[in-house]
């Protein structure tokens, strides 16, 4: 799975050379497979608030090896830093510096997860400063972690608790190998909505899910991951990709629907298919997307319009049809694939970045609408992912792009799929209108 350079510097001579020259030393990341434990090794829950106590009790019930105080030299699987009662930046010192003494004891592929509260313009200034401080703290710490370890944060809005379903869902996601390529990111839990799965290995059991652009690459990986998690699948791609689509459909026991999503009636066609075959539709994954790169000075209407039509206009139209449909399930979930280009921008991709930033805008604005139906909508923004598309980037450019993140390697299509599968699950029900980056904490774009 890992690239040649990563294999070279992982042991023996290559490891020695890389260390002496100060070269990047990416490691093989811990990735989730059915049956693998949430995390191996003790989990230190740092923090003395009632929220921290509640959380520690819950983790104990998950049969995790929970510590409330570090034992020096004992290797840790994770540190959970509970900072849910900060009132002033001065409150950061004690829990943060206590946790700091355990950082050197983190095992490879360990996790550091902060649990704190959201700050907005209505928050009291000192409290807001403390809460916002966690943002800078966590993002910097994530860059200091080594050997596949990642740092991510959970933000609790008013009404969300450390033991809300979505808090626990996000915590489980961040602890597990499902979040291998997610680093330096925050997820906001906005409500107590959501539900933890009855069977942790099949969190999507009984759900009917549609994946667009499913014939290859990230779309095919999403299909396989949702299937592994128990979903019944409808796979959509353009008719010309039908052979690859059929292959994936037969692997995941789904149905292949050859359909150009930019057709005006695409939403209705998808709903009709889902209703006829399964009676309803629970999960919509907008993955299909195209690039038609050109410097803006050289851009023509064809390139601009086709990217806007497929990457955002089609999603808007399909969502509108879904939200108006009687066949949408009780707790509908929509997850869109955005891109770090839509956040940080990318030379030659004005059309693509406009469409992907548009996806982010759409997701934020649709959260309230789908919330009325008990559902949620989120986006995932992949960074450098090893796909057929990125394999075509010239060698030197590709090699640089791969190393420009905290994990010093490209992500796998499955890493994006894991994030999408989590956001599509009921465990993430209290998370909506969010954009989760799967980029290994890429150095560009915050």
């Amino acid at each position: 799975m890992s690239d040649k350079y990563t294999r070279f510097v992982s042991h023996g001579f290559g490891k020695d050379i890389a260390k002496r020259l100060g070269l990047p030393q990416p490691v093989a990341l811990r990735r989730y497979e059915t049956g693998s434990p949430v995390i191996e090794g003790p989990v230190l829950v740092q923090g003395s608030t009632a929220g921290a106590d509640d959380l520690a009790a819950t983790l104990l019930a998950w049969n995790l090896d929970v510590r409330r105080h570090a034992i020096p030299k004992e290797k840790l699987g994770a540190i959970i830093l509970v900072l849910d009662e900060l009132a002033h930046p001065g409150d950061l010192e004690k829990p943060v510096l206590t946790a700091a003494t355990s950082l050197r004891d983190l095992a490879p592929n360990a996790r550091v997860i902060t649990v704190s509260r959201t700050a907005d313009s209505a928050t009291e200034p000192a409290t807001a400063a403390a809460r916002q401080g966690v943002d800078g703290l966590l993002r910097s710490l994530a860059k200091e972690l080594r050997a596949g370890a990642t740092g991510n944060g959970i933000l609790l809005a008013d009404g969300a608790r450390t033991t809300s379903p979505a808090t626990l869902g996000a915590l489980r996601f961040f602890l597990s190998g499902r979040s291998a390529f997610v680093d330096g990111q925050f997820l906001t839990v906005s409500s107590g909505a959501g539900q933890l799965p009855e069977a942790v290995e099949r969190p999507l059991a009984g759900k009917v899910a549609v994946v667009t652009g499913a014939a290859r690459g990230i779309g095919a990986a999403i299909a396989r991951t949702l299937y592994r998690d128990g979903a019944t699948l409808i796979l959509v791609d353009i008719p010309a990709a039908g052979d690859h689509l059929a292959e994936v459909a037969n692997q995941v026991h789904g149905t292949a629907l050859q359909l150009d999503i930019s057709r005006h009636d695409a939403g209705q066609r998808i709903i009709d298919h889902a209703a006829a075959r399964h009676g309803r539709l629970d999960i919509m994954i907008h993955n299909a997307g195209i690039t038609r790169d050109k410097l803006l000075a050289n851009m023509d209407a064809g390139r601009w319009n086709s990217v806007i039509a497929v990457n955002i206009a089609a999603q808007l139209r399909i969502n509108e049809a879904l939200l108006a449909s009687e066949h949408l399930g009780d707790a509908p979930r929509i997850v869109s694939v955005a891109s770090t280009s839509g956040i940080a921008g990318n030379r030659g991709q004005t059309n693509y970045a406009a469409s992907k930033a548009g996806v982010i805008g759409m997701v934020r604005a649709t959260a309230a609408l789908i919330g009325e139906r008990g559902g949620s909508i989120n986006a995932v923004a992949p960074g450098f992912i090893e796909t057929e598309m990125t394999a075509r980037i010239p060698f030197a450019t590709r090699e640089v792009a791969r190393r420009l993140n905290s994990l010093q390697q490209g992500g796998q299509p499955g890493d994006v799929a894991e994030a999408i599968a989590f956001l599509a699950s009921d465990a993430a029900g209290g998370i909506s209108g969010e954009v989760l980056r799967v980029c290994g904490q890429n150095l560009v774009g915050a």
Binding site: A241, G242, D243, N250, G254, T255, Q258, L259, R263
Partner: protein, 471 residues
């Protein structure tokens, strides 16, 4: 008939008669009734949908694909479309006209290579170009009888990967060599070999009993019915235009799965025109005395491809939440004596259709979609000319006059073989799946289900035709 349970009486019996339930009397009464009457007690066989790979001109995209490869691909696309992974289908039947001897179990091997349950039985069938339609009819009959609940009919052909046999001389020598016990005897056998024996025996479309190719046979028929070059070119032009329009409208989005880089039939010329077709030189019938009218443009080229059709009982389709597009109402086969020149080689459907329609008290006016396979434009036009001919109607069909004429706007409305190509055994599946979709979209016509007629001519002077009705 015992299909619907032993208590169902025969049609001539009073209900709740004193005859023993399921007794011989009931069965005999049922069996004595022909066609429509008995079918009142049969289940319906419905077309759920179909899948084919695009058809490719021979020597093109599928040059390296075997019949088994293509049939497996067509099956896998069908499985993906309808979610049939690991499903045990009642029976799969398919066939190929040009078939390697190693492919003795072609369909079963394709099933084993597909995503279907390995416990799905399969058999091969061969009836020249009618193979595909005959698999549909045979399997539909099994469904109607209650022997199976689901079935996949299909066909495949590759003229690119065609079998090549050794010459008769070489074959006899090789067999004798195998039987020879001693070295001297073996040398004796080998000495019989002559250079001409080493030339391979390539397949051709010639008729064994006349030595004439199919095209030359059709040229005789075309001339006999005085079919003009212009009429043939117009039919070819319409075929290309209609097929191109169907692709553009997305008609094939749920009928076809791309294969080996092709997502449309490679023979399709969306930009062809009557003027272009008129420039082509005749290729058949150049020695008949009359003007030669058959060109590469109004004759179907050799093609590679495969098609499948999913058939089911209504109950099975409902239980699997699958669509029901059309019912397979009935079929009829006919054959003509072309060897002695009584009728043209490809004229059997001209006899099969009147017989089939008569059995259902129908006329050509009761048909909403005509799917007449375009082996050659001349074949379609000769058939239509025969039906419009009073003499033919009286003397050959035993009618009072001409059988009738059809509304040409109902003919091959989404294109046919002249544009799509014709991988022999795959044509029946292509037509049945497309027609079922058209019928379903049409729904009702003046208060009754829309009705379609399929007509396919075949080598050996044969023809198979069928009626489908919308659901």
């Amino acid at each position: 008939m015992s299909v619907n349970g032993p208590s169902v009486p025969g049609p001539q019996e009073p209900p709740a008669a004193a005859t023993p339930a399921g007794g011989a009397a009931g069965t005999a009464a049922g069996m004595s009734q022909h066609g429509g009457t008995a079918s009142a007690q049969l289940r319906r066989a419905v077309v759920v949908g179909g899948n084919r790979i695009p058809f490719a001109r021979t020597g093109g995209a599928y040059t390296k694909s075997s019949n088994q490869d293509m049939l497996t691909a067509a099956l896998d696309g069908l499985i993906a479309r309808f979610g049939l992974q690991d499903e045990r289908i009642g029976e799969v039947a398919a066939g190929a006209v040009l078939k390697h001897s190693r492919d003795f179990n072609l369909t079963r091997e394709a099933v084993l290579g597909s995503a279907l349950s390995a416990e799905t039985p399969a058999y091969d069938l061969q009836q020249a170009c009618a193979t595909g339609l005959e698999t549909v009819l045979g399997l539909a009959n099994k469904i109607k009888l209650g022997q199976i609940d689901s079935a996949i009919a299909g066909g495949v052909d590759s003229a690119s990967d065609a079998p090549i046999a050794v010459s008769e001389g070489l074959r006899e020598v090789l067999l004798d060599l195998n039987r020879a016990k001693t070295v001297s005897r073996k040398l004796q056998v080998l000495s019989r070999l002559r250079p001409k024996d080493l030339a391979p025996d390539a397949p051709n479309t010639g008729e064994p009993r006349t030595g004439l190719s199919m095209g030359e046979h059709q040229a005789l028929t075309t001339a006999q019915w005085k079919i003009t070059r212009e009429a043939q070119d117009e039919l070819a032009f319409n075929s290309h235009r209609n097929l191109a329009a169907a692709y553009d409208a997305g008609f094939f989005d749920d009928l076809l799965t791309p294969y080996r880089g092709l997502s449309r039939d490679s023979n399709l010329r969306a930009d062809t025109s009557l003027a272009k077709l008129a420039t082509l030189k005749p290729v058949f019938g150049k020695n008949l005395g009359a003007e030669a009218t058959m060109t590469a443009g109004n004759s179907t080229p050799l093609t590679d491809g495969a098609s499948t059709v999913l058939l089911a009982s209504e109950e099975w389709a409902d239980a699997h939440d699958l669509p029901k597009l059309a019912t397979v109402v009935d079929g009829e086969a006919a054959a003509v004596d072309f060897v002695h020149g009584k009728d043209g080689l490809l004229m059997a459907p001209a006899f099969a259709v009147p017989r089939l329609l008569a059995r259902h008290n129908l006329t050509l006016a009761d048909i909403d979609f005509f799917e007449i396979h375009e082996a050659f434009a001349g074949t379609v036009l000769s058939t239509l000319a025969a039906w419009e001919d009073e003499e033919f109607g009286r003397t050959r069909l035993g009618l009072d006059g001409a059988f009738g004429s059809i509304d040409r706007t109902k003919l091959n409305v989404n294109g046919s073989s002249l544009a799509a190509g014709h991988p022999f055994a795959a044509t029946g599946g292509r037509i049945v799946a497309s027609l079922a979709k058209m019928l379903h979209a049409q729904g009702q016509v003046s208060g009754r289900p829309a009705r379609g007629l399929v007509s396919i001519c075949a080598a050996g002077g044969q023809g198979v035709v069928a009626i489908l009705e919308a659901l």
